[in-house]
Symmetry: C2
Subunit: 112 residues, 2 copies
């Protein structure tokens, strides 16, 4: 698995990875603790975590023989910017519709 192939969008495309991010939003956890809550094997979870780390969604802190995963905002920014673009698209779309309605409903110029 070549981590360099991954970007933010691919990182959150996998349901297991999104589940991991959710779990970490309630509490930072060690890799094994995370793996225990999954139906897939520990190495599989380990790979997912590596993807999330390499794409900036989490950081990992060594604590003795355990490694704790913590959410990292950096990974989310690319997605956020992408969403912002389209949120804006829909907003301006709505505004121009609004303007159109206002115009066609506005009182006609009084003749004379």
């Amino acid at each position: 698995m070549n981590i360099s192939n991954y970007d933010s969008f691919i990182a959150i495309a996998d349901p297991h990875r999104r589940q991991i991010l959710r779990m970490l939003s309630s509490k930072e956890q060690s890799i094994n603790t995370i793996a225990e809550n999954f139906d897939i094997s520990r190495p599989a979870v380990s790979k997912h975590i590596k993807v999330l780390e390499s794409t900036g969604f989490i950081t990992i802190e060594d604590r003795g023989r355990e490694r704790y995963c913590v959410l990292d905002q950096r990974g989310f920014t690319e997605i956020q910017e992408w969403m912002n673009y389209f949120e804006n698209y829909w907003l301006t779309k709505l505004k121009s519709l609004d303007a159109y309605l206002k115009k066609s409903n506005s009182p006609k110029k009084r003749k004379r």
Copy 2:
């Protein structure tokens, strides 16, 4: 290609599909017009468009022998909700940090 396997997150995971969405944000376009702007074959683009349609990111209107693609807000909502959750996470995180700093900086109770 079984379209039913796709969800919103997978839909936007592919760079070509994101590019199509961008293109459509400037102007609605026919499928062939879209395909002409790509390095991949027309059938490949056609498949991407099918994915975007089945996941609610675009709708398709028949106009004579052409089919025009138009952005559809529905597809974006799932992503948006997901982002909202984590935006909120970071906001409350920031707030509690702020509260903590305020507290530790607040003037100590005057003795006596």
